[in-house]
Amino acid sequence: MAAAKHTIVALVADRPGVLNRMASLFRRRGFNIDSIAVGHSETPHLSRMTIVAEGTTTQVEQIRKQVEKIIDVIRVQDITSQDIVTRELALIKVKATAENRSEIMQIVDIFRAKIVDVSAGSVMVEATGDEEKVDSLYNLLKPFGIMEMTRTGRIAMPRGDQVNRRTDVESEK
């Protein structure tokens, strides 16, 4: 079975070291994490993580089960095969001159991205979308000279009414 990128979402207790527990488990089981993004969830004291990792379905199922054993992990799902929305945020700082600034702005417009900072020699572009969109924008901006880029990595959520949540979990005191 071929290795592919998998999107794994986990609901975890918002305690010190949980990200470390998660990342450490992937590392010691021999999985490379492409990206890991974590932030607060809709429930106080619970965070939601999105992890992108490459492996076969069997390997990813095994790592999912191992992750589920972490005491601070409440629920974990591989949502790769579901109908999901994925996004990431990127900030890209591009070299810009008075001559080419408008050209850059046109490209940014086409991608429905935003210019969030301008200086004499640069513009900072904020883009959200799936990785392919951010990659395309990056490739088009590259000829102008990329000074710096930072990306959040993927966050993901299934479409529709399905939720990655445990209804029996109340917010912890």
């Binding site: 975890v12 207790a13 010190p16 070291g17 470390n20 527990r21 450490s24 488990l25 010691r28 069997t58 199922e61 095994q62 089960k65 191992q66 589920e68 054993k69 972490i70 005491i71 601070d72 992990v73 409440i74 629920r75 445990r166 029996d168 979990v169 912890e172």
Partner: protein
């Protein structure tokens, strides 16, 4: 009334039914040690090295089924627990390790005797805690014991800064734990049980592989009932030894790298494996692609992550082994596998290596083990280290008594035997405990003779002394062109060592003395050490070469008379 963190800890341990703590004091646990003397019901046993504490707590937990408790100070005290924690983790032993930590304000400043023990033990504990608020302490201890002792057991570490030991809070021990991310399954899925019953009914060459899970869940009766009703032979993993009586006609002994030929052949030829509380360790399976190529697999295990980890499973049943076997036994139909069993018996006769002991003028390690079995009538608890002596003890003692073989299975920790034998003896006062040691293995933790002496624990210690790191030497002989690189081992005079610790001892240098020596040790009150000078280059057979299929067996070669 407010109590200090140390008092809260002691009160909580009493609530958990703790009777014994194996520990070693130090600067950052001084408040706790100061408080301990107010709690005489908590028997503290001073070991000689923290590794001794953790192995003793490990074996105590194995023989009693309770959660073992060990205690160490911060920094080097805590890091000395690491090997034992890894050992307990891989063998699924319920344990709570308590470590002192530098005061909160010093954490992260590379303070004297500071080590990030929660960070260090993250991959080798089931869970761990750094307590940063004394108000969380009682809840943390409750959770730690619950996590350690339920589901698939494992070690939990609690790191306790010194100022938290001194800070005060109201003591309130919670009656319940609230852990939304931790809900171990106990009962097996009924549909899966039915599927298993069907497969068992259809199989013509089935085998049961019983693992440590049978012992952890105490499913001896249930396993025996399943085997006897269905007439299916039982093979054990190394840690599964003593889950099924080995003198039973359905017992085939151990499988794997040093497993008996009949067990390995039966598994390879089987059409159904009923794997019970075992995890298909590579030492048990050999090369996975050659493992039981035509067998379907029913796998019963409490840890869902074990299902399908190493081998493909047809019917997984996630749950407590005993609970699942009770369900299975309700539905199972009597079976007859006499053709299959007679074929297996043919293998038993054809390949006696690992069972029969050849004639020899020198002392063979197998002979020593067999004589200990005879003299103890199979009623002793046998504790081993790691190496050839461990495999001889696994193969040549017949374990009929449930839960009577204590060994470091998964991690293979040399030096486990002496502190573990002591811990087992603490858990089994008045019962015979024999420590089968290697001359190399015992030297890793030999200072625990001091603990044994101080506590006057009647452990009988049999050193199988061949002057080599025997198992490594065996591999060098067989697979590295007889190049004995760093395996000849100078040994101290074990009698003088014993004398230094005031433990009676004797050398056994000729075969004729073996039985009398064992009798003398058994008849002596308190500890006794026997130093058996054995045939130096004896090998463990049968053996499957590393990386080969388990049916690829090296048998004991016929020795020429010399």
């Amino acid at each position: 009334m407010k109590q200090t963190g140390s008092e809260i800890l002691c009160e909580s341990l009493l609530k958990e039914g703790v009777e014994v703590i194996f520990g070693y004091p130090g600067g950052q646990v001084l408040p706790l040690y100061h408080t301990l003397t107010d709690y005489p019901k908590l028997r503290h046993i001073l070991v000689r090295h923290e590794q001794g504490a953790v192995h003793a707590a490990d074996a105590y937990a194995r023989v009693t089924g309770k959660v073992g408790v060990c205690l160490a100070t911060s920094g080097p005290g805590a890091t000395n627990l690491v090997t034992g924690l890894a050992n307990a983790y891989i063998d699924s032993i319920p344990m709570v390790a308590i470590t002192g930590q530098v005061p909160m304000a010093m954490i992260g400043r590379d303070a004297f005797q500071e080590a990030d023990i929660t960070g260090i033990t993250l991959p080798i504990t089931k869970h761990n805690y750094l307590v940063t608020d004394v108000n969380d302490l009682a809840r943390t201890i409750k959770e730690a014991f619950y996590i350690a002792g339920t589901g698939r057991p494992g070690p939990v570490l609690i790191d306790l800064p010194r100022d938290i030991q001194q800070a005060a809070a109201e003591f309130h021990y919670p009656s319940k734990v609230h852990l939304p991310g931790y809900k171990p399954t106990r009962a097996g899925n009924q549909l899966q049980v039915k599927k298993a019953v069907k497969l068992i009914g259809e199989a013509s060459k089935p085998v049961i592989i019983a693992g440590h899970g049978v012992r952890i869940s105490g499913a001896y009766k249930e396993l025996r009932q399943l085997a006897e009703t269905t007439n299916i032979p039982v093979i054990t993993t190394l840690l599964g030894i003593s889950s099924f009586p080995e003198t039973h006609e359905l017992s085939l002994g151990m499988l794997g790298m040093h497993g008996l030929a009949c067990a390995n052949m039966a598994v390879t030829d089987s059409d159904l494996i009923i794997a019970i509380g075992m995890r298909f360790d590579d030492r048990a399976t050999g090369k996975i692609s050659a493992f039981a190529p035509s067998a379907k697999v029913v796998h019963i295990d409490i840890d869902p992550a074990e299902v399908g980890k190493n081998v493909k499973v047809d019917v997984p049943i996630v749950g407590d082994v005993r609970t699942v076997l009770l369900e299975l036994n309700k539905e199972i139909a009597p079976g007859d596998h006499s053709d299959w069993l007679s074929r297996i018996n043919g293998w038993k006769k054809e390949y006696p290596s690992g069972v029969e002991i050849r004639e020899s003028d020198t002392i063979l390690p197998q002979y020593v083990i067999r004589k200990i079995w005879e003299k103890t009538q199979g009623q002793a608890t046998i504790v081993t280290g790691v190496g050839q002596h461990q495999m001889f003890a696994a193969l040549h003692y017949y374990y009929d008594k449930p839960n009577s073989f204590i060994t470091s299975g998964g991690l293979g920790t040399m030096g486990f035997e002496l502190p573990a034998a002591f811990g087992a003896q603490v858990g089994l006062p008045g019962e015979p405990v024999w420590c089968i040691a290697g001359d190399g293995s015992i030297q890793m933790t030999i200072q625990e003779l001091g603990t044994i002496r101080q506590e006057n624990a009647p452990v009988k210690i049999a050193i199988l002394n061949n002057g080599f790191l025997g198992m490594v030497r065996q591999w060098q002989e067989l697979f590295y062109d007889h190049n004995y690189s760093a395996t000849p081992l100078w040994c101290p005079d074990f009698i003088k060592i014993s004398d230094g610790y005031s433990i009676p001892a004797r050398n056994v240098t000729c075969k004729a003395e073996v039985e009398a020596a064992i009798e003398q040790a058994a008849a002596t009150d308190g500890p006794f050490i026997l130093n058996f000078i054995i045939e130096p280059e004896e090998n463990v057979y049968p053996m499957v070469p590393p990386g080969a299929g388990i049916n690829n067996i090296l048998h004991e070669p016929k020795k020429e008379a010399c």
